[in-house]
């Protein structure tokens, strides 16, 4: 997956265990609070990132694999915040989706929440590593939803 450099980048890697999801939420709270988002938007972003981390752990768990770590990458632009959550698990996809096709599990409440809370959401497979990345975008200046 090609990732263009943003104006600033913040990266965090957490152990893939439930007790560390709160750490990712705290970090994203710090990042989003420095941007021109409303309080509600910052809270939306925090919840979406928590859900993406939880989804990553559930995905690896359902595949019978340990979730070694979850990588969260924030690309900070003046007009938007792009957040990528990568589960660092090599799980074969039965039917690989075409590039950029959203395939986040909408049956799960977590997936539903992410799609409602963020402006753009897609699930990608990193061509370099084969790992799944949930990519979420929140635009600045859209106001409280």
């Amino acid at each position: 997956m090609a990732i263009n450099d943003g104006e600033a980048r913040v990266e965090l890697s957490i152990p893939g265990r439930p007790e560390y999801v709160g750490v990712a939420r705290l970090a994203i709270l710090g990042v989003a609070s420095r941007m021109r988002f409303s309080y509600d938007e910052v809270e939306d972003i925090r919840l979406a990132v928590g859900e993406a981390c939880t989804t990553a752990m559930e995905r690896t768990s359902e595949a019978g694999l340990p979730c070694q770590s979850i990588r969260i990458r924030c690309l900070i632009h003046s007009s938007e915040l792009v957040i990528e959550v990568c589960d660092n698990a090599l799980i074969p996809e039965p039917t690989p989706p075409p590039s950029n096709a959203p395939n986040l599990d909408e049956r799960s409440l977590g997936g539903v929440l992410i799609r409602i809370l963020m402006d753009d959401v897609s699930t990608l497979t990193d061509p370099e590593t084969g790992q799944r990345v949930v990519r979420m975008v929140k635009h600045v200046g859209h106001g409280a939803r």
């Binding site: 509600d40 809270e43 799960s108 929440l113």
Partner: protein
Amino acid sequence: MQFTVEARNVRDGVAVIALGGEVDVYTSPRLKQEMVDLLNKGTTRLIIDLSAVDYLDSTGLGVLIGGLKRAREREGDLRLICNNLRILRIFEITGLTKIFDIHSSEAEALGGLG
């Protein structure tokens, strides 16, 4: 804020579980266990007080849905107390306000619970 869970019986078969802090993938198993323990002891009408909860994720929602299902299977009920607009919004955007009976106070939640 640290997660807290405190259960107390208000009358025969009726209990209030007061939660505080963050209800998420890490903490919600404790809520689930508390509800299961109460239901197994015959307390089938549960009121979950979310007044002091400042974060609730899909895992927490799932545990509450499971508690409601288990309570109704035992001909009981599960009601919520919630005044936090942020938390209420999560119930609204997921459509769960149609499933849960949400009240603004314990007295209101206890009304007509039997």
